[in-house]
């Protein structure tokens, strides 16, 4: 009996190992959280310097249309109006999501409902392959194929929002498709059975039951695609023209937050207004990705509520 008592009071090796494991995983977690926190801090401290050190008016930064840091604009203030880039980023994101959504849903429905076997065997691996293609490849194809195509068909130089939209459409399509397919797959089989047993056709079942039940998941997929489109830099930069002007139409050269960032960040001196203004752009990007993230979480939670009790 005493041996058992002794062993109960002593920490066993197994419990020590468990403790060690817990500590290690906690350290990993803390490291990641720390990095995220530092990124936020760094971007914010640099980005806010534009407003606090260089005394740029926040409203003028967001609504100004002249972007030429280092010079003074017509109003005597530094010319750091980010509106052209903000508009460009949003336009390109929304347009590409608008075009990609119907294609993605159609493909996903085919993959999961109409031909699940071929979907699982061929379509899914292909879409997943598309996700993995480096963005510079997309950008290069955009430069060589899409830009001339847009130039011939719609006029202009070919560089602009439209070309960027086409390139991003292809880039986000696989993401939205495979996430939509996941959402459709997650619809319980008994929903379909219930609908079919009531004499509904397959199309009625897909349209009225399966798609309805998958709406939250598909919204998440679309927002995810938008987040990717918003943050994409390289491919867009290659086809959009990079003129810091408010886009007059879809084929006039424009720019996005990301394209101006990648173009400019190497050419400025740390601490200068030119540099700080770019950090402010980065801050907007970061805030937007935060918004997208929150939207995804919010939709996901709402979806869970409406699909369960």
């Amino acid at each position: 009996m005493d041996k058992i008592r002794e062993s109960l009071l002593k920490k066993s090796i197994a419990s020590k190992i468990e403790r060690r494991g817990k500590i290690i995983s906690l350290i990993c977690l803390a490291l990641i959280v720390g990095v995220v926190f530092l990124i936020f801090y760094f971007v914010a401290s640099r980005g806010l310097a534009t407003f606090f050190q260089n005394h740029v008016n926040l409203w003028q930064f967001l609504s100004g249309t002249q972007w030429n840091p280092g010079t003074t604009g017509t109003n005597g203030q530094p010319a750091v109006g980010a509106l052209p880039m903000i508009v460009g980023s949003f336009l390109i994101t929304i347009l590409s999501a608008l075009i990609a959504t119907p294609f993605a849903i159609g493909t996903a429905v085919f993959m999961t409902e109409i031909s699940p076997r071929r979907g699982a065997k061929i379509l899914r691996p292909v879409t997943e392959l598309l996700v993995g293609i480096p963005s510079v490849v997309y950008g290069f194809i955009g430069l060589q194929v899409v830009v001339p195509f847009v130039r011939h068909t719609f006029g202009g130089s070919g560089y602009g929002i439209l070309s960027g939209t086409f390139v991003l459409f292809v880039m986000i399509l696989p993401t939205v498709t495979s996430m939509s397919a996941d959402a459709l797959n997650a619809v319980p089989r008994y929903y379909r059975e219930a609908s079919l047993a009531l004499g509904a056709t397959r199309w009625q079942t897909i349209y009225k039951v399966v798609l309805r039940a998958a709406i939250p998941g598909m919204l998440t997929a679309i927002v995810f695609g938008m987040a990717r489109a918003f943050g994409e830099a390289l491919a867009v930069q290659m086809v959009i023209g990079n003129a810091t002007l408010l886009p007059q139409n879809l084929v006039s050269p424009a720019s996005t937050l990301t394209s101006i960032l990648t173009m400019g960040i190497g050419n400025t001196v740390m601490g200068s207004l030119q540099n700080n203004a770019l950090w402010s752009l980065a801050m907007i990007l970061l805030l937007m990705s935060l918004v997208f993230n929150l939207a995804i979480r919010y939709i996901g939670r709402k979806g869970k509520l409406s699909n369960e009790r």
């Binding site: 008994y190 929903y191 047993a197 009531l198 004499g199 039940a213 409406s306």
Partner: protein, 269 residues
């Protein structure tokens, strides 16, 4: 399972005299295959109109497979060979409009499966697909179906609440109401009470006895007391074959096949 190679030859299948009994549905030489393995090797049954017929048997005996074949819910899952006769037509043929057929042969599943919609919309769903769109008609049918399923009084003030907020028993009765809203001829039920507590079970059973006046009911059940309580005829399945089919009273008091006797007295299964 005991070696029953001796006894599987023993069979006792009731055949109705069409003069005295109206037959709603019958199967002739039905075989069901999952890939290459045969789940149902012989299924010859006749189901009388406005009666409850129960299918009993141990797990894996093929009774659910058989039931699901009757309104072709197995179409994309298994291969069904043989004839399923309904109103003089073989509904297991390619000429049949499956969706139209399911309107006449409805089904309720083991697990309550309401849609994530309101109670009202759950019932209106199939009606809208059929082109019933007038609010007045819909209201009327929703009320009638819920009354028939004996739940109108409980939910009449909550028709717009989510069906998922109902209890399991209520959900299952909603599924029954949903199935009868399109006025089928025949109602197939796949262990409708196996996921429910005793009180809900007895309510479902009362509902079925009530529905018997207007519907032909075929029910798969694991629960032998349930079969004896509510059914008029009982078929005993074992290893993909119907071994005995007779009036329920006879099956439970005087089974002709040894294996049936073993099963209902709890010796196996």
């Amino acid at each position: 399972m005991a070696d029953n190679s001796m006894t599987t030859d023993q069979r006792n299948i009731l055949k109705f005299d069409p003069k005295d009994h109206e037959i709603a549905l019958s199967t002739e030489d039905l075989h069901v295959f999952y890939g290459k393995s045969e789940a149902i090797s012989e299924g010859d049954l006749q189901f009388e109109r406005y009666k409850i017929s129960a299918l009993i048997g141990p797990s894996g005996s093929g009774k659910s497979t058989y039931l699901r074949s009757l309104n072709r819910m197995n179409d994309r899952i298994a291969t069904v060979k043989g004839k399923i006769m309904y109103r003089g037509l073989d509904i297991n043929s390619n000429d049949i409009d499956v969706y139209e057929m399911r309107r006449h042969i409805g089904m309720v599943f083991q697990r309550p499966n309401p849609f994530a919609k309101s109670i009202y919309e759950n019932i209106a769903f199939a009606l809208r697909q059929r082109g019933v769109n007038k609010k007045q008609d819909l209201d009327e049918i929703v009320e009638r179906s819920l009354r028939q399923a004996a739940m109108w009084d409980q939910v009449k003030d909550d028709l717009n609440k989510s069906a998922l907020a109902l209890s399991g028993g209520q959900q299952q009765r909603l599924c029954i109401a949903r199935a009868i809203a399109i006025k089928p001829d025949i109602l197939l039920l796949d262990e409708p009470a196996s996921a429910l507590d005793p009180v809900s079970t007895s309510q479902i059973e009362d509902t079925l006895l009530e529905l018997k006046q207007n519907y032909t009911i075929i029910i798969v059940t694991h629960n032998m007391q349930q079969a004896s309580r509510i059914s008029d005829y009982t078929a005993f399945f074992n290893l993909g074959k119907v071994l005995e089919y007779a009036e329920t009273g006879d099956i439970f008091t005087n089974p002709q096949v040894d294996l049936t006797n073993d099963y209902i007295s709890g010796n196996f299964g």
